[in-house]
């Protein structure tokens, strides 16, 4: 039972956690990650950002990442939310929540989903700085992060 959403609206962690636990008697572990907008980026202050995506492909890419995680670990529930549109400093950007019988699978799958989302899901950040707007460059470290998941 998975839930994937690409949305402008904010999300509520308490609600997401409740959904992962609701009528759930089989799972002993819930792990979640949230990504937030930071005030500093590459040495510059950031007042906000806009997030663009490729409608259609985004949902398809996220679905594939969740399916890949489920093939690798015995996950029971995955909830994945990514916001698009205009965001301010400290706003929530992304939520990944995973429930499983045991913590090892939940920790690993949550990490795996974020690492692949960073490299495969078609989102692009444009930051607002005092010098104007600028597109965020993809980082080599995000690509290298995938190496640890090679079987």
């Amino acid at each position: 039972m998975h839930f994937i959403s690409v949305q402008e609206a904010d999300f509520d962690i308490a609600h997401e956690y409740a959904e992962l636990r609701k009528d759930n008697r089989s799972d002993g572990a819930v792990v979640f990650f949230t990504g937030l907008v930071r005030e500093m980026s590459q040495g510059d202050s950031v007042s906000g950002m806009s997030l663009e995506h490729y409608p259609g492909m985004t949902e398809k890419a996220l679905q594939q990442i969740v399916e890949d995680a489920c093939e690798r670990w015995p996950l029971h529930r995955v909830r994945l939310i990514h916001r698009v549109g205009t965001l301010r400093v400290s706003d929530q950007i992304v939520f990944v929540g995973v429930s499983a019988a045991h913590r090892e699978a939940a920790f690993a799958a949550c990490h795996f989903i974020m690492d692949f989302l960073k490299n495969r899901a078609p989102f692009w950040k444009k930051e607002v700085t005092p010098a104007g707007e600028r597109w965020v460059d993809a980082q080599e470290k995000d690509l290298r992060a995938l190496e640890k998941w090679q079987k």
């Binding site: 663009e52 890419a61 974020m114 989302l117 490299n119 989102f123 692009w124 993809a138």
Partner: protein
């Protein structure tokens, strides 16, 4: 063939899509070469590695062959999360 552009690439090229005159089937490498002929000022930006390609909403390598009716998109490396 209609090609979609996103993010910084869309802004650099000044359009969110372009109707490219190219015989099909063609591989992505040939599509890139044809795009560079149309947008020579952005040749570097359009090279493999600087710009990713998706066919039917799935990331593909430059050897992937595009057929008539496929949805083709080019965009910069992604920066979500």
């Amino acid at each position: 063939m209609n090609i979609l552009f996103f993010a910084a690439l869309r802004e650099h090229l000044g359009c969110d899509q372009y109707s490219l005159d190219i015989p099909l089937p063609s591989d992505i490498r040939s599509v890139r070469a044809a795009l560079i002929r149309v947008f020579p000022r952005h040749a570097t930006l359009l090279t493999e590695g600087k710009t990713l390609a998706a066919v039917n909403q799935t990331l593909v390598q430059d050897t992937h062959v595009v057929n008539a009716g496929d949805e083709v998109a080019f965009f910069p490396p992604v920066t979500g999360g």
